[in-house]
């Protein structure tokens, strides 16, 4: 448990997140309009999205399938009866004057997500529910000095609202939760998780309490659009609540906004100003009954998810929890790693390469994985050259950097630069003999029991062979001759 020491004693944070995840689908929740990101304003709008008179919603079945898939991926209950309800309020970004959402009968009930924390431990966060709803339109306030414009492209796009239980206790845990959730959604292909494009947004519910006390009054900070901002918002809001309570004030239940430029949250509307949404079942849509066999079919078709993959990497590949966690975080990284191993190479070697030189180069270059100049097969070949003794591990790191720079294969670089390791015992013996002959003083030290000097001899051999001597063989020959 993370506690924050205030002036009057320790405080514990209680955090729950409501994540709005845009579902991957060609069309919207209740209309056939397209959903591509970045299209010209109002170019992806159907009569239904614009709430023209007499228009009716027709449910897009892809949405139901994606939600069921996601629910299963979150180890959650799937509710076989789903009802869409209208959430009524007026705003310019809401053409119908109501959002079609789910209220009493969400498609997915309680589930759980396992967080992988920095120290390699795990922690469970409960999922309260997941429901489907329509996204709102986008208001453009910068197009005209006194008027706002409405872009309906996003109106009616499919969202899953994923509500966690108030199980998180720190900004770090909230970050880990969002990363894990995003990873699961990407594995499932139900949401691309691109927060910079608005595909995932989070509302942060936060309260503080003395450890062991009942829950305090919470605030909801709306629409935070990056993991970093979520963590900053939590820290800012926690600080604000602690200061408030330590000064003898009280936290007011309200909706707040996070201002990333000023690093603070500010009040949007209080509980008294909260809307009465007057939810009621949408009479344009009949309740839907899901066939358990269909749900079972989706379940059978689920891909291997991050937790299962991590467990397999640990048990079958012998990787550490930390390395396995790092490798499974993104599906394409895990796939890359498995392509390097290719069922034949040493998984630990592959993992070390991935988490070491490879990630280092990738981060420096800021390239996406798919565009890395060294792809899985090429990295595999490099590892093979080490395994079969063609080059040393030390040389291999240089070869890797050269591969990254040039895009050439490991074999080509080794050949070109003459980096092949000398494993010819005759040639190495000659070098060793010459060095022994030239350095009687060090030979005497070694024979006198100073084992450290052996390292000096290896160094001399390496120097003489420009680093290409096989270090194992050099050691062996040295020991035979003067050990």
């Amino acid at each position: 448990m993370t506690v924050i020491e205030g002036e009057s004693g320790p405080w514990e944070l209680v955090i729950g997140l409501e994540v709005h995840a845009q579902v991957i689908s060609e069309t919207k929740l209740f209309s056939g309009a397209a959903t591509a990101f970045g299209a010209a304003p109002n170019s992806q709008v159907s009569l239904v999205d614009a709430a023209m008179p007499g228009m009716l919603p027709v449910l897009n079945e892809v949405a139901v399938e994606q939600a069921v898939k996601t629910g299963l991926g979150l180890n959650a209950e799937i509710n076989l009866t789903l009802v869409f309800e209208r959430k009524n309020y007026f705003y310019a970004d809401l053409p119908q004057g109501y959002q079609i959402s789910q209220y009493l009968h969400p498609i997915v009930g309680a589930g759980k997500v396992t967080l992988d924390l920095e120290d390699g431990t795990t922690r469970e966060v409960g999922i309260e529910r997941l429901h489907l709803e329509q996204d709102a339109a986008k208001l453009l306030h910068d197009q005209h000095p006194t008027q706002s414009y409405v872009d309906l492209n996003r109106a009616g796009v499919i969202l899953m609202e994923i509500v966690s239980k108030p199980d998180m206790r720190s900004a770090e845990e909230a970050g880990a939760y969002l990363r894990k959730l995003r990873s699961i959604l990407r594995y499932l292909g139900s949401c691309d998780g691109n927060m910079d494009q608005g595909s995932m947004r989070a509302d942060v519910n936060l309260s503080i309490r003395r450890p062991g006390d009942p829950l305090g009054t919470r605030t909801e900070t709306k629409n935070v659009n990056s993991i970093r901002f979520v963590q900053q918002a939590i820290e800012a809001e926690a600080r604000r609540q602690i200061e408030l309570l330590e000064e003898g004030g009280t936290v007011v239940q309200e909706t707040r906004l996070f201002d990333p430029n000023r690093g603070e949250t500010r009040s949007m509307r209080s509980k008294e100003e909260a809307h009465d949404y007057r939810y009621f079942p949408d009479p344009d849509l009949l309740p839907l009954k899901l066939d358990p066999a269909w749900v079972a079919e989706i379940e059978a078709g689920l891909p291997e998810l991050p937790d299962a993959k991590k467990a397999r990497f640990m048990s079958d590949h012998g990787l550490s929890a930390y390395d396995a966690g790092v490798l499974v975080a993104e599906l394409e990284t895990a796939n890359f790693y498995e392509a390097v191993v290719a069922g034949k190479r040493d998984p630990k070697q592959a993992a070390n390469w991935m988490t070491g030189s490879f990630f280092g180069a990738l981060n420096r270059s800021s390239l996406p994985l798919a565009e890395a100049p060294v792809q899985a097969a090429a990295l595999g070949e490099l590892i093979d050259l080490v395994s079969d003794g063609t080059i040393s591990g030390r040389t291999a790191r240089d070869v890797f950097e050269a591969m990254w720079e040039s895009g050439k294969s490991a074999a080509a670089i080794v050949e070109e630069k003459g980096l092949k390791q000398i494993s010819d015992s005759g040639a190495l013996e000659a070098v060793v003999d010459a060095i022994i002959a030239a350095n009687p003083e060090q030979v005497a030290q070694l024979q006198g029991g100073n084992q450290k000097v052996i390292g000096w001899f290896v160094g001399q051999v390496m120097k003489e062979t420009k680093g290409q001597a096989n270090p194992g063989m050099v050691n062996k020959i040295l020991k035979e001759k003067i050990g």
Binding site: P53, G54, L59, A92, Y98, V150, D276, R278, D282
Partner: protein
Amino acid sequence: MSDLTKATMAEARDLLQGGKVSARELTEAHVAAVEAARPLNAFITETPEIALKMADASDARRARGETKGALDGLPLAIKDLFCTEGVLTTAGSHILAGFKPPYESTVTRNLWEAGAVMLGKTNMDEFAMGSSNMTSHYGKVENPWRRQGDNRALVPGGSSGGSAAAVAARCALGATGTDTGGSIRQPAAFSGIVGMKPTYGRCSRWGIVAFASSLDQAGPLTRKVRDAAIMLGGMAGHDAKDSTSVDRPVPDYEAALTGDIRGLKVGVPKEYRIDGMPAEIDGLWQQGIDWLTAAGAEAVEVSLPHTKYALPAYYIVAPAEASSNLARYDGVRYGLRVPADSLDEMYEATRGEGFGAEVKRRVLIGTYVLSAGYYDAYYNKARRVRSLIARDFAEAYEKVDVLLTPTAPSAAFAIGEKMDDPIAMYLNDVFTVPASLAGLPGISVPAGMSAEGLPLGLQLLGRAFDEETLLRAAGVLEEAAGFTALPQFLAGEPS
């Protein structure tokens, strides 16, 4: 009134099919009738050019030896709740000022694809909220009927009042209506014509301006039961764009009119004998039972015990849905916008000016019954009542095939009457609302005259999707009643 406008829809069809008359001649006669009937204010928009173009296309088809079916070349009026592509569609409201939809409702598209001809868009209570056609932004509609010895104008009923008046005055062979709680059946009864609300889900709601989505259903207003059968066949059908539309084949409704109801069990619900019902309506009801039993049917008294809760439940459910359905009229995208300094003020100014008093009343009621703290007491209780009412009907239909009731508790009333008492106005729907809540089909047939010389209707209710039995029984009732009286106002004739 020309002979061509006197014809029933079936007769006009036969004339067209026999080559005795062209669609153009038939349409020209009706276009003239629409013009002549302007004093009734039955139309918000007349579309004579469109009508003649459609008629010419029909004649051209027929000349090639082709036809699109029973409705090919027949001029119809369309309630202004149906969106018609490129033609002003108002729902009787100022808030849809200037709104010309870029799309065609499924029901009207079906009609045009069956070859029907559009005469224009008929007046109606604003957003279909009313039983008198007095709430229209485009002014009241006059009933073509008058009381004997009393020249005061009467209401045609509502909300499909313009459609009913147009058909009764012989401006159109038939008209579309919509029925949420009685909006086809009650004006049909007030105007001496046939009005049918099919089963919920039988006609697509796509492109019909929504009032209360779980209740709204389109249907025909015609002068004859046979015409209703013909027209319903052209309107009905599954529509993938309406999730509540039902995917089942559309039968040949006209073929159901065999005239044979021997052995049919006709239920008479005892709870419909309400206090204060005029004796002449009670008498007509008994007369109707006698007519049907004389034709070989068996009358059975049944009980629909939750009937008295239907009207209050309806006036919770319908406004609740309406309060949400009408939220889209916000001045942002189409229709009226009253500019103001802020978004909220623009909403208030636009909706304040755009909606009439009855619409505002129902939006307020609907908002109230859905609010936190009142939801269970009103909305949820009304939904439970609704299931009980549906169960009442289901139990009755285990014993009987159709139910016979009066359509409305009175004949047409004068313009200005009942206007200061919304509850008295709501009572017009007392016999029509229960079947609406249960989603069941109903038809009103002109069956007799009041002492004041006004038409009275009887209502038959049927099982879900059993419009055929309902039409067959209605045909026998119509035949027995032999209703031939004509309204005082007939298009193109001195009244």
